[in-house]
């Protein structure tokens, strides 16, 4: 780190005016946001390091210091987005919710966040999967135990043949299709259907329809921040 050239603030590493890690965090943040934007604009395949460094207003050297290569940067970006959505989902639930209610609220909050950040939605549902198909398994590892736990704590078990992993991929395809069709501003139109997908594997078809109706009648969720 000794050769670090601080950008902008005029401080040096020996006498920083802000703690170094804050500078690093914001640089890292800027790079991640640049990756999200560039992928939305031209897909991961067409994104170059030059695109990222110019979006992020950092030097190439800084980029390589933070991330070994484009792929590593992308992986970090995906993790960043997933963390954000997990946090959104956690915050959306209240302890009094029944499992289907909790799932509906979490789904609504996630979709609202994606609608507010369409570039992120596009990255998670499109590029993330095509760059590393394993990411779909990662999504599931986060999601399925959480759903299972929710239902088990309420004494229910998995219902019928609906595969929760597939349900998740279907939701992802719906979102990707919506963004690919240039309708990312209207992601919330998908809410009832995605609530259905999220509830059906554990709650069954009828319960899923009931929650989809509720999602529909609630209209645009209020928990959008």
């Amino acid at each position: 780190m000794q050769k670090h050239q601080s950008s902008g603030s005029g401080s040096s590493v020996l006498s920083p005016t802000v703690p170094i890690d804050i500078g690093e965090t914001s640089q890292r943040q800027r790079i991640i946001e640049a990756m999200i934007d560039s992928c939305a604009e031209k897909t991961y395949a067409a994104t170059t390091i030059t695109d990222i460094v110019s979006h992020a207003r950092i030097s190439r050297t800084t980029f390589y210091k933070r991330f070994g290569d484009k792929r590593a940067c992308f992986a970090a970006t995906v993790s960043f987005c997933l963390d954000e959505l997990q946090e959104v989902a956690r915050d959306a639930r209240s302890p009094a919710d029944s499992p289907p209610e909790a799932v509906r609220r979490a789904t609504a909050a996630i979709l609202a966040r994606m609608a507010a950040k369409p570039a992120m939605a596009q990255l998670l549902t499109g590029d993330a999967v095509s760059v590393d198909p394993g990411v779909a398994l990662r999504y599931r590892k986060i999601l399925i135990p959480a759903l299972e736990g929710l239902w088990e704590s309420a004494g229910a078990h998995k219902n019928g043949y609906i595969d929760p992993g597939l349900a998740f991929s279907r939701a992802q395809l719906l979102v990707f299709n919506q963004t690919a069709a240039g309708r990312s501003d209207d992601l919330l139109a998908l809410l009832p259907d995605i609530v259905y997908l999220a509830v059906a594997p554990f709650g069954g078809h009828e319960e899923a329809l009931a929650q989809a109706r509720l999602a529909q009648s609630n209209g645009r969720p209020a928990d959008e921040r």
Partner: protein, 224 residues
């Protein structure tokens, strides 16, 4: 480069559900289209060069550039032919007489067979497309919309009326999501065995659990 006998096999795929006739006939354009499918599926789009395609097709560089602007152009042309062929197969299966849910099962079966019959074409069609850049999104969206429209057109007027606005997209999405996953994991050949569960997944939003289960069981019985 793969073994020559693989290349021969690739160049002349056979079988009921093989590549469209256009891809196996021998004109230069068709050889190039078949070659781009094979090479891209084996190496990935990024790593594929025009030289690879020429070698695989046994066609000269000049002829290539008379027919295609570049590698991407060639890939997209092959992709369009494959999607059209898949669509034709699914449409034919869906157009058969019989109850709607059975026609859906036939359409699903046709799609699964198509992907299983040629894993290289399967990988090329659903996995490698994303690597061509922004145009892949429009291509995906267009193909998705065509399959949704195909299923919607075949609905009976007094048939299942799902509550969900996107029920057809959910059905098409179920098939595509499963196909994508199996193809990525190199398990395309096993796709037909997933027909019963996929039938259920696609039909539940339209018919409810009981009727979807009945059709699932019927599909399982056909498969045995």
């Amino acid at each position: 480069m793969s073994a020559p006998e693989d290349l021969r096999k690739w160049r002349l795929p056979r079988g009921r559900h093989g590549l469209p006739r256009e891809l196996v006939t021998r004109s230069q354009r068709e050889r190039l289209l078949a070659a781009v499918v094979r090479v891209t599926a084996a190496r990935g789009y990024e790593a594929t060069t025009v030289a690879d395609i020429l070698e695989e097709a046994g066609v000269g560089r000049e002829s290539f550039y008379e027919l295609f602007a570049d590698k991407r152009d060639c890939m997209l042309a092959a992709h369009a032919i494959l999607v059209e062929d898949l669509e034709a197969k699914v449409r034919a299966a869906y157009a058969q007489a019989g109850p709607w849910q059975e026609r859906v099962t036939s359409a699903l079966a046709a799609a699964l067979e198509w992907f299983a019959s040629d894993p290289a074409a399967a990988r090329f069609t659903v996995v490698e497309l994303a690597a061509v850049g922004p145009v892949s999104r429009a291509r995906f969206q267009d193909a998705f919309a065509r399959f949704v429209a195909l299923i919607d057109e075949g609905m009976e007027d007094n048939g299942a009326a799902p509550e969900l606005a996107q029920a057809t997209s959910l059905g098409v999405g179920a098939a595509l999501a499963r196909i994508y996953e199996e193809v990525v994991l190199d398990r395309a050949a096993e796709l037909p065995s997933l027909l019963p569960d996929l039938t259920y997944e696609a039909l539940v939003p339209f018919l409810g659990e009981e009727a979807a289960s009945a059709e699932r069981n019927r599909a399982a019985a056909i498969g045995r």
